[in-house]
Symmetry: C2
Subunit: 362 residues, 2 copies
């Protein structure tokens, strides 16, 4: 459900209303009263609020009638928190929902997780244990490490951003640009390549063509504008190739995304671009519009996607939130779960994009 | 003409063949034999090579018949150099062409300069004085400073990249990402804002709405991911606002370009984005396709545009070079010259984009 004070419940209610077929088999891990309030906000003249049905466990989702929002209740079910305000109660509830859902996925009771936005400050205000996690990813990573009996450092994860046109996997995310440069190490770059390779191999049913971006302008222009390409990135690419992966680069950052872009009439040169830092990858993914971007956490022993936006406290409760990215996140989660063998349905063809949607040119 | 061994002469010949109206009033500063060779390469069955006419000075361009390439001959007119090879002769010739053209512009004999690509190594091989200049921009800057009787440091320039959708002005260009971070200083950011403001004011006939990108992910997320936004960028924005410019930011780099994007049905929030480093600005400009990007040098006492690509030695002489970016560069140079009062023709409306081309939605 994400943070109850944000737009999470509203975009969930909109997804159920606008995409009933897609949402079949999905349920919300959250709070019934909060979802009922969201369903009311989404309702309009002639389109009454969708009913919310409480279910006790994952399997019961199949017994819920259509056009109904199934919810597993977490917490006491007290009054919903105020919209748009940082709340320790909402932070703790959101954290507990993530834990429940992670455990359900790790134990095979659900085939994928789609996470609505958390609010960092609410999570911090919630106190132990949630205040030690900057967000979903770290929470899920800790839960997965615990489940696997490994230290967190042995469950490396990477963020992939994807839309209809482009996939990019990031070496680092929420650190300053200075620290991001320090994070461009042989180990980190090779690990990112490896995680991307293993994540996309089953999706494409072949080795993904991985492009690695340089760090510096023109990928260093033969050492004139920086040495990281020669000293770090190139050796990591060679190591990955030696391990049988199909990797090229380091490519000039300003054109590699364009070359990987999947658009009508053009066969992209690459299936995914490894970006050296947050904005290098996010600028091109978001340039064509934020509403279609989906965030996929790679490296976890479970499928997890999320919309590519935050809690938007400024518009929470107004009914103006756009569910597009959440809808795409659900679509992609289903496609990935199918590939992972959790969903028995149709198998997308190798030429289909990650999300399993038809490409425009096909 | 750019480097004679590169694609410059070929894309010039193509521009004259494909855009005769646009090229009216334009002439080449270069080498007749090289242009004749280029015209031959561009010729095809049923479309003979355009004739090349030697002119002695700028004014004679108006006496040249249509469908003819007018050339001011620089140098001895010896055999053209080999395609696709670094040549000291080509480097020196290209350097001399730039000097001739810069002086012609500074002295008011031509209203704008469009520069075809140079080759850095050829320029270096050419020896004094050309080997001290990494490229056109520095050569033009030195020539302008000399003309104005100022030190080069008092003729600060910035690169603007523009296409139909987006304009971005860069704080720094061809340095490593580490050095680019060091170049994000109060003075450099404020100077970039000022140069962008003064360059776009006459084009838009109003104060441009300038967005300043942050340096770090999420523009530092209130100091969590870096302090440059608070300590450097924000004060520079405030100083610019205090001087009457219309400036906002620092904005999250991953969404600010999207918000400035001019596309059908959407009114962009900003007229230009100040990018903190090369790839931050170039990735979004190039994402939709490299062929339409134009490079504009701001800060010089002359109008100068150039295509957004290099000499492409790998395809030089094959006839496969794409003149689109050069054509756009000529179009934009004419629009800017018109705004600067050098060309008496029509005045674009304030709502028109920089290049004076009609927007799709109008």
């Amino acid at each position: 459900m994400g943070d109850a004070a944000g737009i999470g419940p509203e975009i969930i209610a909109k997804a159920y209303r606008e995409q009933p077929e897609l949402m079949q088999g999905c349920f919300v891990v959250g709070d019934v009263a909060t979802l009922r309030r969201a369903a009311q906000i989404v309702a309009s003249a002639g389109r009454p609020a969708l009913p919310v049905a409480v279910i006790a466990e994952a399997n019961h989702v199949h017994g819920v009638p259509p056009h109904c929002i199934p919810v597993v209740q977490i917490g006491t079910g007290a009054e919903p928190v105020a919209w748009g305000k940082v709340s320790a109660v909402a932070g703790a509830l959101a954290g507990r929902c993530v834990e429940w859902a992670a455990d359900a996925a790790l134990n095979g009771h659900v085939c994928a997780l789609v996470t609505a936005p958390l609010h960092k400050e609410a999570l911090a205000a919630a106190g132990e244990p949630y205040n030690q996690f900057p967000g979903h990813t770290e929470l899920l990573q800790a839960r997965a490490a615990h489940f696997l009996g490994k230290p967190v450092s042995e469950v490396p994860v990477r963020m992939m951003l994807a839309n209809d046109e482009l996939r990019t996997v990031l070496v680092s995310i929420h650190v300053s640009l200075r620290k991001a440069i320090e994070a461009v190490t042989f180990d980190n770059v090779l690990q990112t390549i490896r995680i991307a390779h293993h994540a996309l191999l089953p999706v494409l049913a072949r080795a993904p063509r991985i492009a690695v971006a340089g760090l510096n302008p023109h990928a260093g222009e033969r050492g004139l504008f920086g040495l990281e390409e020669r000293e770090v990135i190139q050796p990591a690419i060679e190591a990955a190739c030696a391990q049988g992966m199909q990797v090229s680069g380091p490519w000039a950052p300003d054109t590699v995304f364009m070359r990987a872009r999947n658009r009508p009439g053009v066969v992209p040169e690459f299936d995914v671009v490894i970006a050296m830092y947050h904005d290098q990858g996010l600028i091109p993914v978001k340039y064509l519009g934020v509403e279609k971007g989906v965030n996929v956490t790679l490296g976890l022993p479970l499928v997890r996607t999320s919309p590519d936006h935050g809690t938007a406290f400024d518009i929470a409760g107004t009914g103006r939130a756009d569910p597009s990215s959440l809808v795409e996140a659900v679509r992609m989660a289903k496609a990935l779960a199918r590939e992972a063998g959790h969903l028995p349905e149709r198998r997308p063809k190798a030429s289909e994009p990650l999300g399993g949607q038809p490409r425009k040119e096909h």
